[in-house]
Structures are given as structure tokens and as C-alpha cells.
């Protein structure tokens, strides 16, 4: 569990007015049985105008493969400083990944969208496989991916 509140404030221009309250949010991503090695997944947030706001998680440790997460690479210009300290292992086919983060409450119902780019070696790249608005209503509602991700859910 990592504290993302400070992270977002420091690494992006995102500023939170006043002392915002934060709460724990759990992202659960279940992979399909796509028949291949572990998938790389990049989790990042854009604001209401579609501008990159910050990275939340990177599943997959080898920087040379990040170019295949083209949405994230476009948003960050491939800057690995964006994911310092929030990098984990890639996620195998059929497995699921749960990440629990402290997220500022102000990120919800304010037009912020969560993006997940995915990529698997020798298979197609799937930038923006998941794009989901962060809202109070969306909590607990699974969203299906198009290629590698069977479903994605966030819970507060």
C-alpha cells in the first residue's frame, strides 16, 4: 500500500484545495486467459480536460517494454520518474491484481478518468484498454476490457 496523495501533488501539477481528506481505494483487475506471458499494465489519471494528472501504478518492471504502453508513454513522454516507487510485477494470464491506494476524495466526481494501458510480449498493444470516470456511483461496478482485461472494479 502506497500513499498516492503526496505523490500526485508532487509529481503533477494537480493541486488539491485545502487539506483534502483521503480514503483507501482498491483497484481490482482480473485478466483474461489470453494465452501469453505476463501483461504490463499502466494505471494513470487524466483530468476533466483530458490532461494527464498522474500515474497510480505500473505493473511490470522492465522500462524497455514501456513503449508498448503507448497511451501512458504519450501522456508522460515515457518519464519513468512518474512511476518511482509505484512499480510492481506484471500480471499473468487469468490472474488478478489488487492495488489499494490512498486517493484524495477530490479526485471523485470531478471529471477525472482512470486509464489502463496494457501490453503483452509479441501480442498486440492495448492502450486505453480501460477508460473509466472516477465517480461515487461507479464504485463496485465492473468494467470489461477489450483485449487482456476481463474486468476492472474499484472500491472505496
Amino acid at each position: 500500500m502506497k500513499s498516492l496523495l503526496a505523490m500526485l501533488a508532487v509529481t503533477t501539477a494537480l493541486t488539491i484545495p485545502g487539506i483534502a481528506s483521503a480514503s483507501q481505494v482498491t483497484f481490482t483487475t482480473t485478466m483474461r486467459d489470453y494465452g501469453g506471458p505476463g501483461a504490463y499494465l499502466a494505471y494513470y489519471v487524466t483530468d476533466a480536460s483530458g490532461k494527464y494528472a498522474g500515474s497510480l501504478w505500473m505493473a511490470g518492471g522492465k522500462a524497455k517494454y514501456y513503449q508498448h504502453l503507448s497511451g501512458w508513454t504519450r501522456a508522460t513522454a515515457g518519464n519513468t520518474a512518474e512511476i518511482n516507487g509505484i512499480t510492481g510485477a506484471s500480471v499473468g494470464a487469468g490472474r488478478s491484481l489488487s492495488i489499494t491506494l490512498d486517493l484524495a476524495d477530490t479526485l471523485f466526481d470531478a471529471g477525472y478518468q482512470l486509464h489502463i494501458d496494457s501490453a503483452v510480449e509479441d501480442m498486440r498493444d492495448a492502450p486505453n484498454e480501460i477508460v473509466v470516470p472516477l465517480t461515487a456511483d461507479g464504485v463496485g461496478k465492473p468494467v470489461s476490457g477489450t483485449r487482456y482485461i476481463a474486468d476492472f472494479t474499484y472500491a472505496r
Binding site: 494465452g35 522492465k62 513503449q67 515515457g78 498486440r124 498493444d125 486505453n128
Partner: protein, 732 residues
């Protein structure tokens, strides 16, 4: 030093390397299989290719070209993401793009042993070990060959040691390439290499238009299809997105409305090298290389097994326990390369200890007379490696020995172990003997040599030693327990019985072997004329080696034996009558046989030395030009094979026969007729000819001197001929 390094590295890494090599062999087949099924390439531009694919599959997201040249497109079928191999001629899907589960599993196993990053590091250590083994092996091969100049000459030696050398020479280039590229690939995977050129900055400004006609985009038109790596299409409905183009020379962005180039960076050299390394390692795009690397990898288990066998065989010959150095009267120092000389030392130690001597056995590198206050004699047993170099276990000995002063009351004997087929036979031992002489050491016994672990040579030297020491012992050395067979005599042809010099040609039947024995390798091994047969006489454990005058194909064993006065073995053999049997084993001697081809072969021999030479002629169905020089006593007494020789000369198996008789009115030895014919022989040798000499030591020395004189005007020496395997002796 290099040798023990090579050995220990090999032993430790063997299992890992064999595992990785076996999976590599399986993987090497896939690129070749893919090359057979891949749609043919087209001489078109990326613009044309992209337009064709887009018209066939309008939802295309990305087109990739693999290093092997296979084009894959990623698109949608309805809502479902799909991918397929594309036929560039039509742009249409032409087969599945999925990697087979077997290939995926093998790839994963080969690079990480299914252990992820830990496994990647383990296999990288394996690659490093392979590299170290390849390089140290390269030096050992050169040493074995007698120097770098002779590296590509035919490999000498026998058994597993030869197998190891032959296979490693074939597999070395592939293994070097595989291990080097593997290390580079690991370095890129873990980001150990400096960052290559980074991607260009994503364009902030785009035209805002969409739907450019791909076939008319100038940038794409200038790039041939074969330089493409990937072309990603803009995301549907995102006007700010662009085409992303990656080629062998760099990467950039194209506007999706105008096709304008919006940014470009050239590929750095590291990227290019990484790409090349991947291609070389996987054989993608070079299927033949992949197969070649697979074949080289096949050598790894063979090398592991033969290397281990050589090492174990060396160890089995054993180390003798010995008296502490301070108490010993006899110091026995050994310099052994493969470990076989240790076995001889053990035999010697046992014999001397049984006579009440207090023997200390040690390695030659521990030479230090001040530690041996009670010693009266030093015996040095010195093997030679390759070009006359000291074995690893005697490193530094010669330097220490040269600096030493002779100690009064301490005498010294040097016995060299080597193989006459190598250029500098017993070179190391000879140098020790020379140094001992120069430094004024008193001589216990004259310098002597043992050729190819010959028990006879060793026993002969042992008799001299026993005589000098005033003791009575026999050195019965059995290098390895030989599996013997019984051979029944078919016929004998006697010569010279009337002049009290009985010489006979004995022909034996091959022992009958069942199919099962042959399949399990228990039968008589394949042999050729020039190989050796070790005869074990009744009443002795010591075998005597004779040169074979026949090969397996002849269907019999034939040897020439001269009855020696008081000779145990020759006495028994020359007394055999048809139906009687002898006990013997066959030992290969591949250094002594004609090189295949059309080059002339000069056969020189005297007395019973005619045996293998006659065998070569008999087997010469191909009519390779063979010239025989043969010395005997008198045409009436010991003209061995006289009938056959004239027949073979007639049917072309022998190109010429020259005889020398030493007990006629005009006596001549074979070296005399060789000297007389020096000009002709020089020409034959200059034409690539090979010389094979068989017979007594003195005869061989005389022939060598005569030949050397004849060769000098041609600018050739026996040493260079020997190094090229074009001069070989079989002497006794």
C-alpha cells in the same frame, strides 16, 4: 592454469548449460519452420503495404514486421480484437499470428527457466560461463594442436579427448556467438546498457484533420517494407492522435490528416546492436543461422559428457600415498596433464616401495631439494602437453629448476611421457633433462621416453632403473583394464627360419560377436591397418603392442612378428599353430594412417615394420599413389609380403616399390635408398605428400635424417610436416 580453470568451470556449469542448450536446440527449429510457411516478401514501400492492409482490414490498429520478415496486423472483427499474418501481396490475412504454446513455453524456459528475473540472471550466468569456457577452450585447443598456426589442422589423439577437441572446434563459433548475444540481450532486458535514443516528443500540434490517403504519404513511400518495424494507427475518434512509425533507422510521428512528419529521432547504435544481437541469437530472419546455432548447442551435452569422462579417467588412474618428504630416500615428482602419468608414478612407487625404498611422491611444482635431507635420488616423470609445453601441474617448475644448483649426493633421472605424433615429442621432459645436464646434476639414468603410455617403454626403462639401483623388480603397468578377446590363428607364413632370424606373418580370425554384443558396443571395435593390438602373453600381465597389418574390412587380424632372443611374447606368438589362440585387445592409433585423398603417400619401413604399410596398400582400393620403400636382410630370407607387393604394384595399389637389402653383395639400408631418392621424394612431399615410417628406432632416425636433408632445399622441415600430420612414425 587455463586447464584447471576450464575444468572446474565446466563441471560446475555443465548441468545448467546442457539444460539451456537443449531448449535452445528445440527453439532453433521454429524460425526455419516459420520461414517455410511465411508469405513471400514484396518489393513495396511501407505506404503501399499500409494502404493494402487498411483496405483489407479498415479497423487496423497496428502493422508489425518481425525480424524474420513476417508481417502481422492487429485489427478488429466486429468488437473482437483480432490479429493475423498478412500476405503483403494482397494485404489480406493469411494465417494465424499466434505463437504456439510449445514455442512460448520453450522460450520462457530457455531464457528464465520459468523463474522470471531470478532465472534470467541464472541463464545469464550460464551464458557467461559458456563464454569463459569457449575462450579458455580456444586456448587449450591451440595448445593441443601445437600452436595457433596448426589450429585448423586435423585433430590428433584418441578417444574422448579427441572427441572433445573435434566437437568443440566445430561448435565453438556458434557457442561464442550464442553466449555473447545472450549476455547483450540480458543487459538490455535489465537496462544495464546506456539508454538508446528516446522516442521523439509527442506532437503538441496536429492538423486536426483525419483520413489521409496512406498510399500517398511521402515519408512512407520512401521506406521499403523490409525496413519497417511497426506502424501504429491513431486511435479511432481521437483527432489529437497520430501515426507512430518505427523503422530500422529510427522512429517518428505522422499527422493523420496530412501525412506530414511531425517528429523523428534516429535509432542509436545501441538499439541497432540490440536488434542485431536478437536476430543473431534467435535466428529470426536468418533461419540457417538459427539451425547452425542449434547444431552447435547440440555439442554442449557431448562436450559436457566427454569432458567429464576425460577428467574422471584421469582421476581414476589414482594418486599414490607416500612417505613424508623429510624421511624419503627417493623423491618421485610427477607433472601430469590428463592424470595418466600419475598412474605410471603409482606403479613405480609400488615397485620401489616393495623393494624397501622410502618413496615420496609429489607434484613437480613442489620442487625444493632443501626439503629432502635424506634423499639420494630424484625421479622426474614429465608429461608433455601439445607443443612441448609444461603440464599445468608443473607450472613454474622449469624456472625453479633452472635456478637450482645440483646437490652433491643427489642424482636425478628424467622420464618423458608423450605422443610421437605431436611435433615436440616429450619436449618438456627433454628440456628438463637438458637443464639437469647444464646445471651439473649427476645422472641416475639417461633421459628416456614413453610413447603413448606404452607399457613396454615403461617396463624397459624400469629394467634399466632396477639394474642401476642393483634391485630386482619389473614395472608392470596396466594403464586401464583392457577388455581382451581370444583370437584363433588361421595361418602363418615363416621367413628367415634358416638364418636363425624367424619372422612370421600371423593371420587370426576375428572373434565371433553376436548382434547384441555389437549393438551394445561389447564386440571388437572397428580397426584399421596401423592401429595397434596389445597381446597379453601367458605368464605375464604386461601387454605387448604390435602394429596391425589389416583392417576390420579385411575380416581378419594380421601382424608381423620377429622372434626375439628370450622374448616371452614373440616366443609364444611365433610358436602358434593354426587353431591356437592368443589373448589381445585392439587399441586405436589414428595418427598413423594415410590421409584420404589423391595426395601421394610415401611408406617407409624395414623388417616387421612392413606390416601396417602392407595393410595400407591392401586397403588402397582407390589407387591413391602410394610409394613403398622397404628394407630387409636378403631377398631369399625375409622378403615379407614379396608376392603381394608385386601384385599390388601391378593392379595400381602401389605406385612404386623400392627395396634395400642389407645382407647382399651390395648392402644397403632403407635410409640409403631414401637418401638416394631424396630429390624425387622432395617433389612428392612438396606436392602435398605424406610420409609414414614404421620399424625400429634406429632405422626411423636414419630415415628422418635422410628425409630432412632431402627436404631442406624445398624449404621444408620434418617438424612442419609433423605438425600438419604429414609425417608420422610408428617405431619400436
Amino acid at each position: 592454469m587455463i586447464r584447471s580453470f576450464h575444468r572446474w568451470f565446466g563441471l560446475i556449469a555443465a548441468v545448467l548449460l546442457i539444460t539451456v542448450a537443449l531448449s535452445g536446440i528445440v527453439l532453433s527449429i521454429f524460425p526455419a519452420a516459420e520461414a517455410l510457411t511465411r508469405p513471400a516478401s514484396q518489393a513495396i514501400s511501407v505506404a503501399e503495404l499500409a494502404a493494402r492492409v487498411q483496405s483489407a482490414e479498415p479497423t487496423v490498429e497496428q502493422i508489425r514486421r518481425s525480424p524474420s520478415g513476417r508481417i502481422t496486423a492487429y485489427y478488429f472483427e466486429g468488437d473482437q480484437p483480432a490479429s493475423a499474418v498478412i500476405d503483403p501481396a494482397t494485404g489480406k490475412p493469411a494465417g494465424s499470428a499466434d505463437t504456439s504454446p510449445l514455442q512460448r513455453w520453450m522460450t520462457n524456459f530457455h531464457r528464465s527457466l520459468m523463474l522470471d528475473d531470478t532465472g534470467r540472471l541464472i541463464t545469464a550466468v550460464g551464458a557467461a560461463a559458456m563464454l569463459v569456457l569457449s575462450i579458455s577452450g580456444l586456448f587449450l585447443l591451440a595448445r593441443r594442436a601445437g600452436g595457433w598456426r596448426f589450429f585448423f589442422k586435423p585433430t590428433r589423439g584418441t578417444g574422448k579427448g579427441k572427441l572433445h577437441a573435434v566437437v568443440s572446434r566445430l561448435a565453438l563459433p556458434g557457442l561464442l556467438l550464442s553466449s555473447l548475444t545472450a549476455l547483450w540481450m540480458t543487459a538490455t532486458t535489465f537496462g544495464f546498457l546506456p539508454e538508446g535514443a528516446s522516442a521523439p516528443v509527442f506532437p503538441a500540434q496536429v492538423s486536426g484533420q483525419t483520413g489521409v490517403v496512406l498510399s500517398a504519404v511521402p515519408t512512407l513511400e520512401t521506406i521499403p517494407m523490409d525496413e519497417l518495424r511497426s506502424l501504429s494507427f491513431p486511435a479511432a475518434g481521437d483527432v489529437t492522435d497520430v501515426f507512430t512509425l518505427k523503422t530500422t533507422s529510427g522512429e517518428g510521428y505522422l499527422d493523420q490528416g496530412t501525412g506530414a512528419l511531425l517528429g523523428w529521432t534516429d535509432a542509436g547504435w545501441i538499439d541497432s546492436v540490440s536488434h542485431l544481437a536478437t536476430m543473431l541469437h534467435t535466428g529470426q530472419g536468418m533461419a540457417w543461422l538459427g539451425l547452425l546455432l542449434g547444431l552447435s548447442a547440440l555439442g554442449v551435452p557431448v562436450l559436457g559428457w566427454s569432458g567429464l569422462s576425460v577428467w574422471l579417467a584421469g582421476r581414476r588412474s589414482g594418486k599414490a600415498t607416500s612417505v613424508p618428504a623429510g624421511n624419503a630416500d627417493t623423491i618421485l615428482l610427477v607433472a601430469s596433464e590428463g592424470g595418466t602419468t600419475n598412474g605410471f608414478a603409482a606403479t613405480l612407487q609400488t615397485a620401489l616401495s616393495a623393494q624397501g625404498l622410502r618413496v615420496h611422491v609429489g607434484s613437480m611444482s613442489g620442487f625444493n631439494p632443501t626439503l629432502w635431507p635424506k634423499a639420494t635420488r630424484i625421479i622426474l616423470l614429465a608429461a608433455t602437453y601439445g607443443d612441448g609445453a609444461a603440464p599445468a601441474s608443473a607450472s613454474g617448475f622449469l624456472r625453479d629448476f633452472k635456478a637450482s644448483v645440483a646437490k652433491p649426493g643427489l642424482s636425478l633421472a628424467v622420464l618423458g611421457f608423450g605422443d610421437r605424433s605431436f611435433p615436440a615429442f616429450c619436449g618438456f621432459a627433454a628440456e628438463i633433462a637438458r637443464t639437469a645436464d647444464e646445471n651439473g646434476w649427476s645422472q641416475l639414468l639417461p633421459f628416456d621416453t614413453v610413447d603413448r603410455q606404452s607399457p613396454q617403454d615403461f617396463a624397459r626403462w624400469g629394467r634399466n632403473l632396477a639394474q642401476t639401483l642393483g634391485l630386482d623388480f619389473e614395472l608392470n603397468h596396466r594403464p586401464v583394464a583392457q577388455k581382451t578377446s581370444q583370437f584363433a590363428l588361421i595361418s602363418r607364413r615363416d621367413y628367415g627360419a634358416d638364418v636363425q632370424a624367424l619372422t612370421t606373418i600371423l593371420r587370426f580370425a576375428l572373434p565371433k560377436t553376436s548382434l547384441w554384443q555389437r549393438l551394445t558396443g561389447q564386440g571388437l571395435p572397428h580397426f584399421e591397418a596401423g592401429d595397434l593390438i596389445g597381446v597379453v602373453p601367458q605368464g605375464s600381465d604386461l601387454s605387448r603392442l604390435y602394429s596391425l597389418a589389416s583392417g576390420s574390412r579385411d575380416g581378419f587380424i594380421e601382424i608381423c612378428v620377429r622372434k626375439q632372443a628370450g622374448g616371452l611374447c614373440s616366443g609364444q606368438l611365433t610358436a602358434l599353430e593354426p587353431g591356437d589362440t592368443m589373448t589381445a585387445f585392439v587399441r586405436p592409433n589414428p595418427a598413423f594412417r594415410p590421409l584420404r585423398g589423391r595426395k601421394p603417400v610415401i611408406l617407409i619401413g624395414a623388417g616387421t615394420g612392413i606390416g601396417p604399410l602392407a595393410g595400407f596398400a591392401r586397403a588402397n582400393q582407390a589407387k591413391q599413389p602410394m610409394h613403398l620403400y622397404f628394407g630387409a636382410r636378403h631377398p631369399a630370407s625375409d622378403a615379407l609380403y614379396a608376392e603381394e607387393l608385386s601384385g599390388w604394384k601391378e593392379d595400381g595399389r602401389l605406385a612404386s616399390v623400392s627395396m634395400a637389402y642389407s645382407r647382399t653383395a651390395t648392402p644397403a639400408y632403407v635410409q640409403d635408398i631414401v637418401r638416394k631418392d631424396a630429390a624425387r621424394l622432395g617433389k612428392l612431399i612438396a606436392a602435398g605428400g605424406q610420409v609414414l615410417v614404421c620399424g625400429g628406432r634406429e632405422m626411423a632416425a636414419g630415415v628422418a635424417a635422410a628425409l630432412a636433408d632431402g627436404l631442406a632445399p624445398q624449404g621444408m622441415t620434418l617438424a612442419t610436416l609433423k605438425a600438419e600430420s604429414r609425417y608420422a612414425e610408428d617405431v619400436y
